[in-house]
C-alpha cells in the first residue's frame, strides 16, 4: 500500500472508535458490555493520539526548519501516529502505567466495576494493545497480565447526573523518569515561594529532562499540596485538552509563558536541537501547610495517550471525550 493510501485508511480509522448500539429487545449482559467498552477504550488510547494532541504536534512540526534533524524527528513522529492508527497497534511499545479515572453517579458500586476494569486490562494485554508491562517491585516478577499491587491505578469520583464516564491515561516510563518535584525555596535556582519561583523550577525541570522524556513533551503542574497530592494533581492536569484555557487568569498566563520560554531552550524533539521542546503546560494549585511549598511536574512524552468515554445505561460507549 502506498503511504498516501495508508494515510487515507488511517483517517478512516478515526471513526473506528466504536459506538455500540444495543437493541432494546435483547437481554443485555451488562458485565460483558462493560468489559467490551473498556477494552475498546484501551485499544483506542494505546493506538490513537487524541485530536487535540494531534493538532498541537502537527502545528509544532510546521515551525521546524526544513531538513533539520528536528524536522526529521517530527516527520517520523507523525508517520508513527498514522501507522499506529492504521495498524491498530500501540503507538509506543512502552504502553506505560495504566491509570483509570472513573466518574460515577451516587449509589454506583465501585468494587465490581474495579473487577471489570481488571478483566478488561487482562484481555487488552492478551490482544496486544498493552505490553506485559507490570513488574513486582520486590521480586521482579512479571505476571504478564498488567495486574498486581497498585496496578492498574484506578481513581473514583462521584459526580452529579446518571452517567458513568471513564478516562484513561497510559503514562510511559521514560517521561515519568524525568518528572520532578521541587520544594520551594530552591536556593540553587533562586526560586522563592511565589509564582516567579514556580516558573523557575518548571523551566529547570524541562532543561534537566533534555530529550530523555521523548520530547516534545507536555507538562501537568501542581503548585502546592503535600508531596503525594501534589504529584497526583500534576498528573491529572494532563487530562486537560492541550488547547483549552485555564480559568485562573494568572495560571493561564504562566502556562503560556512557560511554553514560550521552554521553546527558547533549543532542546528540540528528542533533544536533537530545534524549536519544539514543549507542546503545552497545564497548571493547577492546591492549598499547602505554611511549612511546605511543593511544585510537582508531570512530564508526558509526545506519545501522549489519553482518552475517555461516556457509557450509556447499558454500559455501551455513548460518546468519546477527546
Amino acid at each position: 500500500m502506498t503511504k498516501k493510501a495508508a494515510k487515507k485508511k488511517a483517517s478512516k480509522k478515526v471513526s473506528a472508535k466504536k459506538i455500540v448500539k444495543t437493541k432494546p429487545a435483547k437481554k443485555i449482559d451488562s458485565k460483558q458490555q462493560t468489559i467490551d467498552s473498556l477494552v475498546e477504550l484501551i485499544r483506542v488510547t494505546s493506538t490513537v493520539v487524541p485530536d487535540d494532541v494531534f493538532r498541537t504536534i502537527t502545528t509544532a512540526a510546521k515551525h521546524e526548519e526544513k531538513n533539520s534533524t528536528a524536522d526529521y524527528a517530527m516527520g517520523i513522529i507523525k508517520d508513527n501516529i498514522d501507522l499506529a492508527k492504521y495498524k491498530s497497534q500501540p503507538l509506543c511499545q512502552d504502553t506505560g502505567t495504566v491509570i483509570f479515572f472513573v466518574y460515577h453517579p451516587a449509589g454506583f458500586h465501585q468494587t465490581p466495576f474495579k473487577e471489570l476494569i481488571k478483566k478488561a486490562v487482562t484481555l487488552a494485554t492478551k490482544k496486544g494493545y498493552l505490553r506485559q508491562n507490570s513488574v513486582n517491585s520486590l521480586t521482579g516478577e512479571n505476571a504478564g497480565t498488567n495486574l498486581g499491587e497498585g496496578h492498574p491505578s484506578i481513581h473514583f469520583y462521584e459526580q452529579k447526573g446518571s452517567e458513568v464516564e471513564v478516562k484513561l491515561m497510559l503514562k510511559g516510563g521514560g517521561c515519568e523518569n524525568v518528572s520532578a518535584q521541587y520544594s520551594l525555596p530552591d536556593t540553587t535556582l533562586g526560586a522563592g515561594r511565589d509564582i516567579e519561583g514556580v516558573r523557575k523550577v518548571v523551566i529547570d525541570a524541562v532543561y534537566k529532562a533534555q530529550g530523555k522524556g521523548c520530547g516534545p513533551g507536555a507538562l501537568g503542574v501542581c503548585v502546592g499540596g503535600d508531596r503525594a497530592d501534589s504529584a497526583y494533581f500534576a498528573k491529572k492536569q494532563l487530562l486537560r485538552k492541550l488547547d483549552d484555557k485555564n480559568s485562573n487568569k494568572e495560571l493561564d498566563n504562566l502556562e503560556k509563558e512557560i511554553v514560550t520560554t521552554c521553546n527558547k531552550l533549543g532542546i528540540g524533539p528528542m533533544g536533537f536541537g530545534g524549536k519544539t521542546t514543549l507542546l503545552s503546560c497545564k497548571i493547577t494549585h492546591a492549598n499547602r501547610v505554611p511549612a511546605s511549598f511543593f511544585v510537582s511536574i508531570s512530564y508526558m512524552c509526545w506519545a501522549f495517550r489519553r482518552q475517555g468515554v461516556v457509557l450509556n445505561k447499558n454500559f455501551a460507549i455513548k460518546k468519546w471525550l477527546y
Binding site: N80, K87, C92, G174, L189, F272, G273
Partner: protein, 188 residues
C-alpha cells in the same frame, strides 16, 4: 540524508558526523540490559559482533504457525543504562554502531573515538515506523533471558537514525545541553 549499508566498518562510520541523518540498510543485533551484563561478566557473545551494530531495543515479537517470527513494535530503549558496559563491548568485540535513545556518557564517547564507533539515535516511541523497517528476523540468541532481552538478528531497510555521538569525540547531547544551559541562565 546519508546512508550506511552493510557490511559496516570502522572506516565507514568515521565518515559520519554529529547531526547526520542516516538510513541504515543491513543487519542489526538487539541487545539490552541482560546481554550487556552477560558480556561484561566475561561470557562470549553467541554471535560475532565484529563490525556489527547493536540496537538497544526490547522488541515486541510474534511467532506465526510456521514458526516464523515478526516484530510488531521496535522502538529504542534508554541507552544510558548500558553506560558501564558499552565501552568494553566496543573495545573487545569490535562493534561499530550503537542505536538507542537518550545518548550515552563519556566512557562510550571515548571508546567511539578510540575504536571507531558511532551512537545513532532512533526516535523514541516510534515503535511502528521502526518495526516497519525490519524486513526479516534472521536469528534469535540467548532466548533464556526472555524475548525482549534476547539477541535478535534483524535485517532492516532504510532504518532512520540521527548521529548524536560520532567517532571524533563530538556529542550532540553535550552541545544541546550546553546551549540550553546558556539560555536557561538568561531566562531564570
Amino acid at each position: 540524508m546519508k546512508r550506511l549499508n552493510y557490511p559496516f566498518s570502522p572506516e565507514a562510520v568515521r565518515e559520519l558526523r554529529v547531526g547526520d541523518m542516516v538510513l541504515i540498510t543491513g543487519k542489526l543485533f538487539t541487545g539490552r540490559d541482560a546481554v550487556h551484563k552477560y558480556i561484561h561478566d566475561g561470557n562470549k557473545p553467541p554471535v560475532d559482533l565484529k563490525n556489527q551494530i547493536i540496537y538497544h531495543c526490547g522488541p515486541v515479537t510474534l511467532k506465526d504457525k510456521s514458526g516464523k517470527w515478526t516484530v510488531t513494535a521496535a522502538g529504542p530503549t534508554t541507552s544510558i543504562r548500558e553506560e558501564p558496559y558499552q565501552w568494553e563491548v566496543i573495545r573487545d568485540y569490535g562493534i561499530v554502531g550503537v542505536i538507542g535513545k537518550g545518548g550515552m556518557g563519556q566512557k562510550t564517547l571515548d571508546a567511539c573515538k578510540e575504536y571507531g564507533c558511532v551512537y545513532l539515535h532512533a526516535v523514541g516511541g516510534a515503535a511502528q515506523v521502526l518495526a516497519e523497517k525490519i524486513k526479516s528476523v534472521d536469528g534469535l540468541y540467548l532466548e533464556e533471558f526472555g524475548l525482549p532481552e534476547a539477541i535478535w538478528e534483524l535485517s532492516v531497510e532504510d532504518f532512520p537514525v540521527v548521529v548524536t555521538m560520532d567517532a571524533h569525540g563530538n556529542s550532540l547531547h553535550k552541545d544541546v545541553e550546553a546551549h540550553s544551559k546558556e539560555v536557561l541562565k538568561t531566562v531564570l
